[in-house]
Protein backbone atom coordinates (compact mmCIF):
# COMPACT_ATOMS: atom_id res chain seq x y z
CA UNK A 1 0.00 0.00 0.00
CA UNK A 2 2.72 2.41 0.97
CA UNK A 3 4.58 1.76 -2.27
CA UNK A 4 1.61 2.88 -4.33
CA UNK A 5 1.18 5.96 -2.19
CA UNK A 6 4.73 6.96 -2.93
CA UNK A 7 4.24 6.32 -6.61
CA UNK A 8 1.18 8.55 -6.58
CA UNK A 9 3.11 11.28 -4.85
CA UNK A 10 5.75 11.05 -7.54
CA UNK A 11 3.12 11.40 -10.24
CA UNK A 12 1.66 14.39 -8.44
CA UNK A 13 5.06 16.03 -8.35
CA UNK A 14 5.55 15.29 -12.00
CA UNK A 15 2.19 16.89 -12.80
CA UNK A 16 2.99 19.95 -10.74
CA UNK A 17 6.32 20.43 -12.48
CA UNK A 18 4.71 19.94 -15.87
CA UNK A 19 2.10 22.58 -15.11
CA UNK A 20 4.71 24.90 -13.73
CA UNK A 21 6.91 24.80 -16.81
CA UNK A 22 3.96 24.95 -19.15
CA UNK A 23 2.70 28.06 -17.43
CA UNK A 24 6.07 29.78 -17.36
CA UNK A 25 6.96 29.05 -20.96
CA UNK A 26 3.48 29.56 -22.39
CA UNK A 27 4.36 33.11 -23.38
CA UNK A 28 8.12 32.86 -23.67
CA UNK A 29 8.50 36.18 -25.43
CA UNK A 30 6.33 38.00 -22.94
CA UNK A 31 7.91 36.16 -20.00
CA UNK A 32 11.39 37.28 -20.94
CA UNK A 33 10.22 40.75 -21.83
CA UNK A 34 12.05 40.77 -25.12
CA UNK A 35 9.42 41.64 -27.66
CA UNK A 36 7.19 44.51 -28.46
CA UNK A 37 3.54 43.78 -27.87
CA UNK A 38 0.54 44.49 -30.02
CA UNK A 39 -2.08 46.88 -28.77
CA UNK A 40 -5.21 44.81 -28.32
CA UNK A 41 -7.61 47.76 -28.11
CA UNK A 42 -9.85 45.98 -25.61
CA UNK A 43 -13.38 47.27 -26.03
CA UNK A 44 -16.55 47.26 -24.00
CA UNK A 45 -19.69 47.77 -26.05
CA UNK A 46 -23.16 48.09 -24.64
CA UNK A 47 -26.43 49.76 -25.48
CA UNK A 48 -29.21 51.56 -23.75
CA UNK A 49 -32.44 52.94 -25.14
CA UNK A 50 -30.87 56.04 -26.63
CA UNK A 51 -27.44 55.03 -27.80
CA UNK A 52 -24.56 52.63 -28.07
CA UNK A 53 -21.57 53.27 -25.85
CA UNK A 54 -18.07 52.02 -26.58
CA UNK A 55 -15.15 52.20 -24.19
CA UNK A 56 -11.69 51.30 -25.48
CA UNK A 57 -8.39 51.12 -23.59
CA UNK A 58 -5.92 53.39 -25.38
CA UNK A 59 -3.10 53.97 -22.90
CA UNK A 60 -0.45 56.56 -23.74
CA UNK A 61 -2.14 57.78 -26.89
CA UNK A 62 -2.68 61.47 -27.45
CA UNK A 63 -6.04 62.78 -28.64
CA UNK A 64 -4.60 63.84 -31.98
CA UNK A 65 -3.39 60.35 -32.71
CA UNK A 66 -6.84 58.80 -32.62
CA UNK A 67 -8.83 58.59 -35.84
CA UNK A 68 -12.47 57.53 -35.74
CA UNK A 69 -14.49 57.10 -38.90
CA UNK A 70 -17.94 55.65 -39.52
CA UNK A 71 -19.30 53.84 -42.56
CA UNK A 72 -22.96 52.90 -42.21
CA UNK A 73 -23.02 51.39 -38.76
CA UNK A 74 -19.40 50.29 -38.63
CA UNK A 75 -16.85 52.30 -36.72
CA UNK A 76 -13.19 52.20 -37.68
CA UNK A 77 -10.86 53.29 -34.88
CA UNK A 78 -7.20 53.86 -35.68
CA UNK A 79 -4.61 54.82 -33.11
CA UNK A 80 -0.90 55.31 -33.23
CA UNK A 81 1.80 55.72 -30.66
CA UNK A 82 5.22 57.10 -31.60
CA UNK A 83 7.97 54.58 -32.14
CA UNK A 84 10.03 54.50 -28.99
CA UNK A 85 13.19 53.40 -30.81
CA UNK A 86 13.65 56.79 -32.36
CA UNK A 87 14.79 58.39 -29.13
CA UNK A 88 18.52 58.32 -28.61
CA UNK A 89 20.55 56.44 -26.10
CA UNK A 90 17.91 54.05 -24.91
CA UNK A 91 18.48 50.41 -24.22
CA UNK A 92 15.56 48.22 -23.28
CA UNK A 93 15.99 46.07 -20.24
CA UNK A 94 12.44 44.82 -20.61
CA UNK A 95 10.05 45.53 -23.44
CA UNK A 96 6.39 44.59 -23.56
CA UNK A 97 4.49 47.69 -24.58
CA UNK A 98 3.63 48.25 -28.19
CA UNK A 99 4.56 51.12 -30.41
CA UNK A 100 3.24 51.94 -33.86
CA UNK A 101 -0.29 51.74 -35.21
CA UNK A 102 -3.29 49.67 -34.32
CA UNK A 103 -6.77 49.51 -35.78
CA UNK A 104 -10.10 48.08 -34.77
CA UNK A 105 -13.45 47.85 -36.53
CA UNK A 106 -16.68 47.59 -34.59
CA UNK A 107 -19.99 46.93 -36.29
CA UNK A 108 -22.96 48.10 -34.30
CA UNK A 109 -26.10 45.97 -34.29
CA UNK A 110 -28.37 48.61 -35.75
CA UNK A 111 -28.40 51.96 -37.46
CA UNK A 112 -26.91 55.00 -35.80
CA UNK A 113 -27.14 58.73 -36.26
CA UNK A 114 -23.68 59.32 -37.69
CA UNK A 115 -23.81 63.08 -37.31
CA UNK A 116 -24.22 62.98 -33.55
CA UNK A 117 -21.43 60.58 -32.64
CA UNK A 118 -19.36 62.00 -29.81
CA UNK A 119 -16.07 60.83 -28.35
CA UNK A 120 -14.07 61.66 -25.21
CA UNK A 121 -10.60 60.47 -24.25
CA UNK A 122 -9.59 60.55 -20.60
CA UNK A 123 -6.91 58.69 -18.62
CA UNK A 124 -6.15 56.46 -21.55
CA UNK A 125 -9.77 55.38 -22.09
CA UNK A 126 -11.64 56.37 -25.25
CA UNK A 127 -15.40 56.66 -24.79
CA UNK A 128 -17.62 56.88 -27.89
CA UNK A 129 -21.35 57.56 -27.83
CA UNK A 130 -23.37 56.61 -30.91
CA UNK A 131 -26.99 57.74 -30.71
CA UNK A 132 -29.51 55.45 -32.33
CA UNK A 133 -31.74 56.67 -35.13
CA UNK A 134 -35.35 57.34 -34.19
CA UNK A 135 -36.66 54.15 -35.81
CA UNK A 136 -34.22 52.02 -33.81
CA UNK A 137 -35.23 53.31 -30.42
CA UNK A 138 -37.58 50.93 -28.66
CA UNK A 139 -41.20 51.94 -28.59
CA UNK A 140 -43.70 50.84 -26.11
CA UNK A 141 -46.69 49.21 -27.75
CA UNK A 142 -49.87 49.62 -25.82
CA UNK A 143 -52.26 46.74 -25.79
CA UNK A 144 -55.83 47.71 -26.32
CA UNK A 145 -58.50 45.77 -24.62
CA UNK A 146 -61.64 45.14 -26.61
Amino acid sequence: MSFYNRLEELFDIQNELSNFFEHVFANTDRTFGLYEGKLKLDADLWENDQEYVIKIDVPGIEKNQIDISAINNTLAIKVSRPDIDQEEKKSFFRRERFSGCAERHLTLPSKINRDSISAVCKNGVLEIHCPKTEEEKPRQITIKTE
Binding site: V24, T31, D49, V53, P59, E96
Partner: protein, 151 residues
Amino acid sequence: MNLIKWKKQNNVSNEIANLNQWISDFFNESPDLFTQNCSINKGNPFLPEIDVIENDDRIEVKVDLPGFEKENIHVEFNANRLRITGERKTEEETKRNHYFKSERVFGRFERAVTLPTGVNAQNIKAVYKNGVLELTIPKTEESKVKQIKVN
Protein backbone atom coordinates in the same frame (compact mmCIF):
# COMPACT_ATOMS: atom_id res chain seq x y z
CA MET B 1 24.25 34.73 -21.60
CA ASN B 2 27.15 33.83 -19.36
CA LEU B 3 30.50 32.73 -20.66
CA ILE B 4 31.33 29.16 -19.79
CA LYS B 5 34.92 28.25 -19.37
CA TRP B 6 36.11 25.99 -22.14
CA LYS B 7 37.20 22.65 -20.77
CA LYS B 8 39.45 20.48 -22.78
CA GLN B 9 38.18 17.11 -21.64
CA ASN B 10 34.63 16.54 -22.71
CA ASN B 11 33.41 13.74 -20.56
CA VAL B 12 29.87 13.21 -19.38
CA SER B 13 30.27 14.39 -15.80
CA ASN B 14 31.50 17.76 -17.04
CA GLU B 15 28.48 18.13 -19.27
CA ILE B 16 26.15 17.32 -16.40
CA ALA B 17 27.94 19.81 -14.17
CA ASN B 18 27.47 22.44 -16.89
CA LEU B 19 23.80 21.63 -17.15
CA ASN B 20 23.40 21.91 -13.40
CA GLN B 21 25.11 25.28 -13.45
CA TRP B 22 22.93 26.45 -16.30
CA ILE B 23 19.75 25.50 -14.50
CA SER B 24 20.94 27.18 -11.31
CA ASP B 25 21.76 30.37 -13.18
CA PHE B 26 18.45 30.29 -14.95
CA PHE B 27 16.45 30.15 -11.76
CA ASN B 28 18.64 32.58 -9.87
CA GLU B 29 18.90 35.26 -12.47
CA SER B 30 15.25 35.71 -13.19
CA PRO B 31 13.10 35.66 -10.06
CA ASP B 32 10.76 38.19 -11.65
CA LEU B 33 9.56 35.81 -14.32
CA PHE B 34 8.48 33.23 -11.84
CA THR B 35 6.80 35.46 -9.30
CA GLN B 36 4.77 36.97 -12.05
CA ASN B 37 3.72 33.73 -13.57
CA CYS B 38 3.23 31.61 -10.51
CA SER B 39 2.04 33.58 -7.54
CA ILE B 40 -1.09 35.64 -7.24
CA ASN B 41 -1.17 36.26 -10.95
CA LYS B 42 -1.85 32.67 -11.82
CA GLY B 43 -5.34 32.49 -13.23
CA ASN B 44 -5.64 36.27 -13.13
CA PRO B 45 -5.73 37.71 -16.64
CA PHE B 46 -4.75 41.22 -15.59
CA LEU B 47 -1.07 41.77 -16.35
CA PRO B 48 -0.44 45.32 -17.53
CA GLU B 49 2.47 45.70 -19.91
CA ILE B 50 5.65 47.26 -18.62
CA ASP B 51 8.75 48.70 -20.31
CA VAL B 52 12.03 49.15 -18.46
CA ILE B 53 14.43 51.43 -20.29
CA GLU B 54 17.99 52.09 -19.23
CA ASN B 55 19.49 55.49 -20.04
CA ASP B 56 22.91 56.82 -19.18
CA ASP B 57 21.87 58.48 -15.97
CA ARG B 58 18.43 57.08 -15.13
CA ILE B 59 16.07 54.18 -15.50
CA GLU B 60 12.60 54.75 -16.91
CA VAL B 61 9.73 52.42 -16.18
CA LYS B 62 6.46 52.77 -18.08
CA VAL B 63 3.31 50.78 -17.30
CA ASP B 64 0.14 50.82 -19.39
CA LEU B 65 -2.67 51.42 -16.92
CA PRO B 66 -5.66 52.91 -18.71
CA GLY B 67 -8.71 54.03 -16.79
CA PHE B 68 -7.21 54.05 -13.29
CA GLU B 69 -7.57 56.55 -10.51
CA LYS B 70 -4.25 57.86 -9.21
CA GLU B 71 -5.20 56.79 -5.69
CA ASN B 72 -5.55 53.18 -6.71
CA ILE B 73 -2.01 52.78 -8.01
CA HIS B 74 0.74 51.91 -5.52
CA VAL B 75 4.47 51.85 -6.16
CA GLU B 76 6.88 50.23 -3.73
CA PHE B 77 10.64 50.09 -3.91
CA ASN B 78 12.78 47.76 -1.85
CA ALA B 79 16.32 46.47 -2.40
CA ASN B 80 16.40 47.36 -6.10
CA ARG B 81 13.07 45.70 -6.65
CA LEU B 82 10.18 47.76 -7.91
CA ARG B 83 6.68 46.53 -7.12
CA ILE B 84 3.65 48.10 -8.74
CA THR B 85 0.19 47.12 -7.58
CA GLY B 86 -3.22 48.57 -8.05
CA GLU B 87 -6.86 48.06 -8.66
CA ARG B 88 -9.12 49.20 -11.45
CA LYS B 89 -12.57 49.52 -10.00
CA THR B 90 -15.46 48.39 -12.15
CA GLU B 91 -17.20 51.42 -13.49
CA GLU B 92 -20.60 52.56 -12.27
CA GLU B 93 -22.52 53.28 -15.41
CA THR B 94 -25.92 54.82 -15.44
CA LYS B 95 -28.09 52.57 -17.54
CA ARG B 96 -26.56 49.50 -19.14
CA ASN B 97 -29.17 47.42 -20.83
CA HIS B 98 -27.28 45.00 -22.94
CA TYR B 99 -23.62 44.13 -23.37
CA PHE B 100 -22.32 43.13 -26.78
CA LYS B 101 -18.65 43.10 -25.87
CA SER B 102 -16.88 43.05 -22.53
CA GLU B 103 -13.17 42.70 -23.09
CA ARG B 104 -11.65 45.17 -20.69
CA VAL B 105 -10.16 43.72 -17.55
CA PHE B 106 -10.80 45.10 -14.09
CA GLY B 107 -9.65 44.26 -10.60
CA ARG B 108 -6.29 43.89 -8.95
CA PHE B 109 -2.94 43.46 -10.57
CA GLU B 110 0.63 43.14 -9.39
CA ARG B 111 3.91 43.46 -11.30
CA ALA B 112 7.43 43.47 -10.00
CA VAL B 113 10.76 44.14 -11.69
CA THR B 114 14.29 43.95 -10.40
CA LEU B 115 16.15 46.98 -11.72
CA PRO B 116 19.36 46.30 -13.59
CA THR B 117 21.66 48.77 -11.81
CA GLY B 118 22.06 50.61 -8.55
CA VAL B 119 19.58 53.45 -8.21
CA ASN B 120 18.98 56.42 -6.00
CA ALA B 121 15.70 55.54 -4.34
CA GLN B 122 15.25 58.93 -2.74
CA ASN B 123 14.47 60.71 -5.97
CA ILE B 124 12.02 58.42 -7.72
CA LYS B 125 9.55 60.44 -9.73
CA ALA B 126 6.16 58.99 -10.64
CA VAL B 127 3.66 60.54 -13.04
CA TYR B 128 0.32 59.11 -14.17
CA LYS B 129 -0.66 60.65 -17.47
CA ASN B 130 -2.90 59.53 -20.33
CA GLY B 131 -3.34 56.12 -18.78
CA VAL B 132 0.41 55.45 -18.49
CA LEU B 133 2.36 55.36 -15.24
CA GLU B 134 5.85 56.74 -15.87
CA LEU B 135 8.56 56.30 -13.27
CA THR B 136 11.92 58.03 -13.55
CA ILE B 137 14.57 56.61 -11.26
CA PRO B 138 17.99 58.27 -11.19
CA LYS B 139 20.99 56.00 -11.08
CA THR B 140 23.64 56.16 -8.40
CA GLU B 141 26.88 57.86 -9.40
CA GLU B 142 28.74 54.59 -9.81
CA SER B 143 26.06 53.16 -12.09
CA LYS B 144 26.07 56.03 -14.54
CA VAL B 145 27.63 55.37 -17.88
CA LYS B 146 30.96 57.09 -18.26
CA GLN B 147 32.56 57.65 -21.60
CA ILE B 148 36.18 56.66 -21.65
CA LYS B 149 38.45 58.39 -24.08
CA VAL B 150 40.81 56.33 -26.14
CA ASN B 151 44.14 57.92 -26.79
